[in-house]
Symmetry: C2
Subunit: 438 residues, 2 copies
């Protein structure tokens, strides 16, 4: 033991890490998400964690704060100062598509499960490093609306399989919003979208005040904006009727309504309430241009979004002289998982993946134990070998602590049979390493 | 298409990324590595990518350069400047064990597959971001030597399964080196280890010159140091004999020889040449104190190490007043994989994971196609649905480009049968979505 000063091993706030049993559950979640993405034919892509700051800023202002890099011992000509950690997976994906344009088949659909970083002030439920699970499609010139409906279907399947508490996936359309505002005679629809995006935080009166005082709307215009934001409906006919009643018209509004109707109609077979049109959803500073998505827990409305995404026309075009629109959605894995951990809703798995612990009966028999473990592993079983000839009671206690379900006794002398003890029932029976199953 | 200035979508040197077909192979590798680690009962742990700079520097000088973070819009009280990206997975693991000491079962064995970052000057074969696959064991007070032999066995199994070109896993022991130098009457064995570590780069004459001119050894001492470094042998008897011939004695040397012999003897069942004692291996600036490992490709000796590791007594003790020694080994996944990609030795997989592409015969039959795909997926198949009612030739071409092996034709009108076309053979036959297999 060193006498040097101790460096406290504290976890840094906003950078979550899990104990093995919880991590085992997270890993099972990741496996399921990946399997579902692949079941829909999405291929895996990973991009570097680091992009040039130019790329990260390619779409101008964002709501995300970037961590830039700095070499502790920088040399002349070092480029690290121009590099930053990605804050989402959409911008890097758009850059990837532009970089490899000639080598990809379009429409290009990929999934990407990686960590992202945001230079946020640490606070409850906000992470500075977290894992996102994204699916996106980018195509040349136009993306079929088909994908705007396929993506929520996949997310629905993922969340259903993960058995997370009740959620709603809200859908809206930026063209619908912008067309409505244009129909109202408003000059700066983007300013209205930004203001309306604060509905959750400052309420309708607060938004009305911002719209009148800062954006310069009349009281009547502001009221119409809020009336539109109040529309929520599960089917396209109800949306059309509710918007129609507001008496505003424009071609862009019609286009937006049609696109939204297509998505809702395509997903009409999903359980009622799982996909809902919510015309208050705007995704403020993000780069979306058509369909927008945002999922929330039903019982924790203040918790914020657990999935989000939308259609972007056209992010990849910042990098290459091609028109490369896309649509995507991101599952906020860490956000969801950490919330359920905090609520005590995740049952940790065992601390070891092993099916069985092979006992070391004595130093002389260690190699017999190691060879037995090898035979079991050759059949695909997960097998831990104990590490020394401790008393059997100690080896048993170790297996119990690690949640390993069975203890394997190799023969204590040549010619004797193997035995295995089921630690749930306490039964101990003869067993053959070439046929035994857990 | 925007007229804004183009941001070049170039990949940043030293930050590799792969096309989908290559990524599919990398993913299959990662699955195999993880499966092998779990087959030996190692549990998964992930730690944040970011640690405090104090933690990263806890073991003093290292050979690794750290990327520190910097918030682009820092606020007063912001802690980002004290944070850096981890340069390996051993230091974060030691910190993790210290932080969660009371919640872990010891000996604590985990695997950790994550990216690490090094603020290197970009150059051939050196990455600034890469994935490492580590297995380590940390225990209270002492780690059984058993693990020094189990870890190379696991790495042997992984490299064998991945079918990488011929490699050798070299083993040495720092106690052996230090004991030998002490036996020679050398005061500063660490300085000798550092000099001897440059053997690959500057050759025996270069090392002899450094030892005499800079470390202050006599020519005879320097010769003995080089004689020891020349010892290579596959079995423990040959090592003992070769070292014995050098006529140097010390208790620490005996301990080191015994530990090395234990490892070699335990692994004697592996193919000859796969694990070799190489007394030139020192792992220069690293934190190792006993067994050290270093694997290399046989046919690319200048390429450097593809796996490395060793015993550290005691890294976790920098963080907590406990004696927590460990032993671990790291597979340099990106280093190995990128080399094989560069050598043209990786056959890319298909660009899509899908088993089958479901055709959209017409807009009217789109929902039949979507429902058919759903039935196939419910059976666990990987199914892509084409996105619009393009001409069949175009849908077929798309499937071929993406490497999808079969094309599914849902009935073109109700009551007709489904058909599937095998794109390898060209055969088209009736098929039942509830029983068909690829």
């Amino acid at each position: 033991m060193s006498d040097a000063p101790i460096v406290k091993p504290v976890a840094i706030s906003g950078f979550p890490e899990w104990l093995p049993g919880v991590r085992a559950v997270e890993l099972a979640w990741l496996d399921r998400i990946r399997a579902t993405f692949e079941r829909y034919g999405f291929c895996s892509v990973e991009t570097p964690s680091v992009e040039s700051l130019d790329v990260l800023a390619a779409k101008g202002e964002t709501s995300q704060e970037v961590y830039a890099l700095r070499r502790l011992q920088a040399e002349p000509g070092d480029d690290s100062g121009r590099l930053g950690l990605h804050f989402d997976l959409t911008v890097p994906f758009a850059r990837y598509v532009a970089a490899h344009f000639n080598e990809l088949t379009f429409p290009f659909r990929r999934y990407q499960i990686q960590r992202v970083w945001r230079g946020e002030r640490p606070q409850e439920g906000r992470y500075r490093e977290f894992t996102q699970c994204d699916i996106d499609v980018i195509n040349v010139d136009s993306v079929p609306l088909y994908f705007d409906a396929e993506l929520p279907r996949i997310v629905h399947e993922v969340l259903t399989e993960l058995n997370v508490p009740a959620w709603t996936l809200n859908v809206n359309n930026r063209k619908l919003l912008q067309g409505f505002y244009e129909g109202l005679g408003i000059d700066d629809p983007v300013a209205v979208i930004r203001a309306a995006d604060k509905l959750d935080k400052i309420g309708p009166d607060g938004v009305a005040k911002v719209l009148v005082d800062q954006v310069g709307l009349t009281a009547a215009q502001a009221k119409s904006v809020l009336d539109l934001a109040a529309v929520k409906a599960s089917d396209s006919a109800a949306v059309a009727e509710a918007v129609g009643r507001l008496g505003v018209k424009s071609d862009l509004l019609t286009t937006g309504l049609d696109e939204l109707a297509f998505v809702l109609d395509e997903l009409a077979d999903l359980p009622v309430g799982s996909v809902v049109a919510d015309l208050s959803i705007a995704r403020g500073l993000d780069y979306y241009t058509g369909t927008v998505y945002e999922a929330k827990f039903v019982d924790w409305p203040g918790f914020g979004s657990i999935c989000s995404g939308g259609r972007y026309d056209d992010l990849a075009g910042s990098f290459i002289r091609r028109n490369l629109p896309g649509v995507g959605i991101s599952i906020g894995l860490t956000r969801i998982f950490a919330k359920l951990v905090a609520e005590g809703m995740i049952n940790p798995g065992p601390a070891s993946p092993a099916d069985v612990l092979v006992v070391i009966p004595s130093d002389e028999r260690r190699r017999v134990a190691v060879a037995t473990a090898g035979r079991l592993r050759a059949r695909g079983l997960k097998v831990e070998t104990y590490h020394q000839a401790d008393k059997l009671a100690k080896q048993l206690r170790y297996a119990n602590r690690k949640g390993i379900g069975a203890l394997w006794f190799p023969p204590f002398e040549d010619g004797k049979p193997h035995e295995v003890k089921n630690l749930a029932t306490g039964d101990q029976t003869e067993a053959d390493p070439d046929t035994w199953t857990p």
